[in-house]
Amino acid sequence: MNLKNLHIRTMLGVTMDIRSIVYQILFAVFFAIGSASFVWSQNGAGSAIALSDVKTLEELAQVGGQLFEGKGQCTQCHSLQGASSDKGPTLDGVGAKLTREFLHESLVKPDAYVYLDFTRVPPAPYAAPMPPTSLAEGEILAVIAYLQQSSGQPVSIELSELK
């Protein structure tokens, strides 16, 4: 439209490569600060509930969510509601899809039924096989509660099972 602007745009084009590198460095720095503060906020205990203090199914699912992100290390391979990794299948909706018994089996005996990556031709196992979880039985129930709740399902665990 106006000549001055056009001129500036061509100049921008010429210097694009340098500028983009600067942007990337800036971006990387912000990203690093962002993830560091995220990790920090996770560590600053704050709202973490202990499994032994759980009084409602709501809290059970919340503990499950903490274990899913933290000790269980599930987000290293799975995506669920924002957290993202494609080393394993997405777990969005998995609490509605899979039965409670099968979810339990998936965690303790993942090799009993291996779900393949169906986007590949032909379908093939994911590169990193799922390891049997090191979570304790009560913690596994909490993770199942979390998977069910985040799929909009009623939680099918009774608090009395936690003993």
């Binding site: 490569d17 990387a28 560590n43 290390q73």
Partner: protein, 299 residues
Amino acid sequence: MEGMAMGSGHRFVLGCVVVFVVLFSLPIGCTSKTDNAESQSNPLVMQGKELFTDYCIHCHGPSGIGDGFNAGNVDPGPRDLTDSETEDGEVGFMASLTNEKIYHEILSRDLLNPDEFEALQEAYLDAVMMEDEEAAKVAEAKLPMLVPPAMPTFKYTLSDAERWALVAYVRTLHKNDAPPVDVPSTVSTVRPTFPKRQAPSWEMAEDERIAIAESGKFIFIDKFNCNGCHVYKTGELGGVVGPDLRRSGERLNLDWTYQWISSPQAMKPDTKMPNLALSEDEAKAITLYLETLKLPATS
């Protein structure tokens, strides 16, 4: 808590790795400005080729010759789409088809219940026996081309325009005299949509459940040929395009199964499983059949 801190430590390391990857990969993206000069060929054919890769090569193979990784699991085997002429020089099956026939009677057909099909066939044969030419003509028009259900229909998965693009691509696989595919501009480019269905109640008497599951098994195999893509029973022919269903009864919740098989695309838009337009009763029957599939526990 110790375990938790360790998890977060890992995340920090992961974060750093991501930062470096981002840092180093982007400049590459900026400098590689080469245009894809070859994409000059017919865009309709290109679109068809892409769809063929997503929905057809598992059976028909990347070149269309019928050697996809799943070819050995469907009966009859997938058609060789490169079939231009027969061994004795006659026009080959594929070359003999019109564009309209491929579009309407193969890619856009409705699957028939085996007994519906038999009834149509009988009406036709009766008319021929009675030498009633008029009636034979009427019956023949109703009788669709006999494409086995092992070849899924794509009428309920892809848009009209996408199915025409597939015809255009399939036409490049064999020699033929058909005119170039010309898609009218009025053709819909919107994929059919099937909103997520409300699952029915699963409460019922045991004998009713068994009877419905039995009818579900029948249509699973004979009408929809779900086993063209899924293993469902040890020792029976079953495809490997989708998950092994032999443990469905232990693995899947009934509501979820019902909703998935009624409208896979409503739950996962890019899934390769086609929508086969199951009625509510059919979806219910197949869900109850899948509920019966269990394997003895391995320890």
